[in-house]
């Protein structure tokens, strides 16, 4: 039975369980819902949860486990001799799977009867041909062991699926019955249901942790490998970043400091653009603008967040860079040598980040109760005084969140840096110099042509890890600050 149908059946059982649970709850209270501990629908939902959750859990585990079990048992059918020298058992198994799929397709398309498929003692050419006719992709002649294995594979899978269907449906019915049995007036159905929801919420929150673990794990091995090849002290305290193309044995200097400095500098410039503009936009939109203006301007600004960063990169390179150059360049103030610089990238990145600050802050500012503003106006404060001294402090946690999000985005941005900031890794104070960031280098080292086992390529993982740890530190600090200055209204 296809999984889709199985899901539908379980859902149907659950739906029936809901109705039964609900009505049983009502009848146990002689039709008077008030005598129940919880709303009747909670009793229904309790049954639904019991009918669905264990059944689906079993189904998922089964679906994950069955291929493994089947594969290991089928794989035993393939003698060592049937595995070509350069191949592996795994690849032959892929062939088996493909042949089994082909048999399925052939049966479905009528090119083969089920009997024939199961007991194809016929010669393999015929089978191969029939499979090909049925549109199955058969790469070469189906061999004896492969065909046997494929047949066994089909049989096992079919049995497995039948067993699974039986188990899942039985479990679902049992679950529903259990839920129905529990249904009595004094049963705390709401609490049970809410506990389940709470579990779900906790599970959702732990995804963040899992992601972090995943990231650390996917970075850490290569990072360790990198430090085996390249001294950590040179990496952390080196002031030069000049990887050489590893083809020549390499005399790379991979000091992270210039990259960190570039990251920091460009992000600061970007935030200096985005935070004031974003914050003032948010203030204007939520406090001054008419609702018409607001309803148009806010989504428009949000479009800025959705323009692909490559467009910003090109915008930096082709428009902003030359513009800055004409003012600060050799023909102007003489501070700038080329169009690509920290300033160029920072400015453009700032533009991209405006909606991160403006839209979120606007929502938060809007959520500050009107009575706070009234209190201030009533004392003769101007609107700006009210905003600065009453509304903004009240909205501070949210605004800090928005700014953190924007800074995170600034740290993680690549395209704009690559195109706008130049690729030079430099430790320099002049914002009109070209610099580059950790992220840009992660991408470029990872997507480069270097030997993947060389420090020049592995450094990408070390860079990722370093950035991860540093931002972690910054976030701890930010959390501390927010806790310290938080003001709670009411």
């Amino acid at each position: 039975m296809p999984v889709f149908w199985l899901i539908l059946i379980v859902l149907a059982i659950a739906a029936a369980g809901f109705v039964v649970g609900r009505s049983r709850a009502l009848s146990s209270a002689e039709g008077d819902a008030r005598k129940l501990h919880s709303l009747p629908s909670f009793y229904g939902n309790n049954v639904v949860i019991k009918a669905i959750v264990p059944a689906f859990l079993v189904m998922i585990v089964w679906l994950l486990a069955q291929p493994l079990v089947v594969a290991s048992s089928v794989s035993g059918l393939i003698p060592e001799s049937a595995i070509p020298d350069n191949s592996s058992r795994g690849l032959v198994m892929a062939e088996v799977r493909r042949a089994a799929d082909g048999l399925d397709a052939a049966v479905a398309s009528g090119g083969m009867t089920e009997d024939f498929a199961r007991n194809a003692r016929a010669d393999f050419n015929d089978v191969t041909e029939r499979l090909q006719e049925a549109g199955a992709i058969v790469t070469s002649q189906v061999t004896q062991p492969v065909l046997r294995a494929a047949q066994r594979f089909r049989v096992l899978n079919a049995t497995g699926k039948t067993l699974m269907s039986g188990a899942v449906i039985a479990l679902s019915i049992l679950g529903a019955l259990w839920g129905i049995r529990e249904t009595k007036a004094e049963f705390r159905a709401r609490n049970t249901v809410e506990t389940s929801i709470r579990m779900l919420l906790i599970a959702a929150a732990s995804i963040a942790i899992l992601t972090t673990v995943g990231i650390v794990l996917s970075l850490v091995f290569n990072t360790v490998e990198f430090f085996r090849l390249y001294p950590a002290s040179d990496f952390f305290f080196g002031t030069t970043w000049s990887p050489s193309f590893s083809g020549r044995g390499g005399s790379s200097e991979l000091g992270v400091l210039p990259l960190l400095w570039g990251t920091f500098y460009i992000s600061i410039v970007a935030l200096l653009v985005a935070v004031p503009i974003g914050l003032f936009s948010a203030i204007y939109l939520s406090e001054y603008a008419s609702s018409r203006v607001r309803s148009v301007a806010k989504p428009m600004l949000e479009v800025l967040a959705g323009i692909p960063t490559i467009v910003y990169g090109l915008f930096a390179l082709l428009t902003v860079g030359p513009l800055l150059l004409s003012v600060f360049g050799p023909n102007g103030l003489g501070w700038m040598q080329a169009g690509t610089a920290v300033m160029t990238a920072g400015l453009v990145m700032g533009i991209m980040l405006i909606p991160f600050v403006s839209s979120l802050s606007d929502d938060i500012i809007n959520a500050v109760p009107q009575s706070m503003r009234d209190g201030s106006y009533g004392l003769g404060a101007t609107q700006s005084e009210t905003i600065r001294q009453v509304v903004l402090p009240a909205a501070l946690p949210g605004i800090v969140g928005a700014i953190l999000l924007a800074s995170s985005r600034a740290i993680g941005e690549t395209m704009i840096v690559v195109l706008g900031a130049g690729a030079a890794a430099k430790l320099d104070l002049n914002p009109f110099e070209a610099m580059t960031t950790v992220t840009a280098k992660i991408v470029s080292q990872l997507t480069g042509d270097a030997d993947f086992a060389s420090p020049e390529a592995l450094v990408a993982f070390a860079l990722g890890m370093t950035l991860f740890v540093i931002t972690l530190g910054l976030n701890v600090f930010a959390l501390y600050i927010v806790r310290k200055y938080r003001e709670q209204y009411e």
């Binding site: 929150a205 800025l304 959705g306 101007t382």
Partner: protein, 442 residues
Amino acid sequence: MTDATVQGGAPAPRGSIHSIDARTAKRNRAEKRFRTYGKIAIGIGLFFLVVLFASIIRSGAPAFTRTVVDVPFTLTQTQYEEAEGTLFKTKAYSDFFIAALDNQLREQGVEAEFDADTIERLLGKVGSTIREYYRANENQLGEEVSFSLATSSRVDGYLTGRVTRESMTDSRFLMAADLDLVDRLVEGEIITSEFNWPFITGADSGVDNPGGAGIGASVVGSFFMMLVVLFLSLPIGVAASIYLEEFAVQNRFTDLIEVNISNLAAVPSIVFGILGLAVFIQFMHLPQSAPLVGGLVLTLMTLPTIIISTRASLKAVPPSIREAALGIGASKMQTVFHHVLPLAMPGILTGTIIGLAQALGETAPLLLIGMVGFVARGYPDGFLQGFVEPNSAMPAQIYTWAARADVAFYDKAWGGIIILLIFLMIMNIVAVVLRRRFERRW
């Protein structure tokens, strides 16, 4: 009385409310300045938006027209069999067509110097269109069929002004002299311009075939990815935020989760690609280049944005609302879902809009899970296949086009950006309308 006066002090005479006193004037100026800053800020934002839009639209417009050669053509059964017998079949079809066109033009006595090579240079990749047609309509063999076949990108460029005789002096793809023939054919209405439907509906093409490039397939890819992102990141993000903000007790562990989430926001997107490759493809054996995997990776990337904004808006709901609900015997769950969440909805939707917009425009993580490059697989066979069949995504498509040598792809890239922005706006409209319905002050 006097005592009170001494204590309270007579109010400093404040004068008429019609004439503004010095201090108020000063404060009003500050107010005005503040307000002006706001206007300037919005102005700057919108100004850049307009500038960006203008340049996108200007650069992208040419992608929406194409030039075609309209000619009747007959392919015989023998020619068909001959072509099918070769390895590079489409080339054979193309050659037949060129020969036929050459003949036809000579018969018509077109006044220009040309030979088969000239015609080859003028045409785009016509072979596959012709082959596809006859493979599907074998009964048309020997009949005259009228084809609209794409010209080469240089002819396209010539008609839109990108290419001139001067600019082609050193090119071996189109000789300046070839343009005489183009002029004649345009006069004879054999070459015409039309709206570039294949661009909107088609899939990617090889680097030597800009005329065949379309964004359609990757729009579908992005669509499926966004479905995954929306249906995973929104519920998970909101659920996580609710747990952290409303249920979790403040302790080291929740602090850890909190810091973790903000930290995830700062993880470069390509690192999510590394994670996705390791977890979804290598560990979970999900198919490569599939929107499902892309969607999962982008979900992980979008989650922090949604969580941070949702938490901020949950925090902003005044406690009195919660007390009111709890006070009449609502459970915490009911309080949150019935009262707090609706009030936090605008912020949640904002987070969703921004998060999804970001996900929609992101290329880097897709680089590692195989959605960037050449994924010209056309449309998926069905809804569920849409998630697992190899496909590209709009930003990835744009990114690859922008890197190609032929400038015609550059137009396509900008055209693709226009489509992406249209997609983005359609996606946003729903959220923006919803958000407005939830907005209220209390």
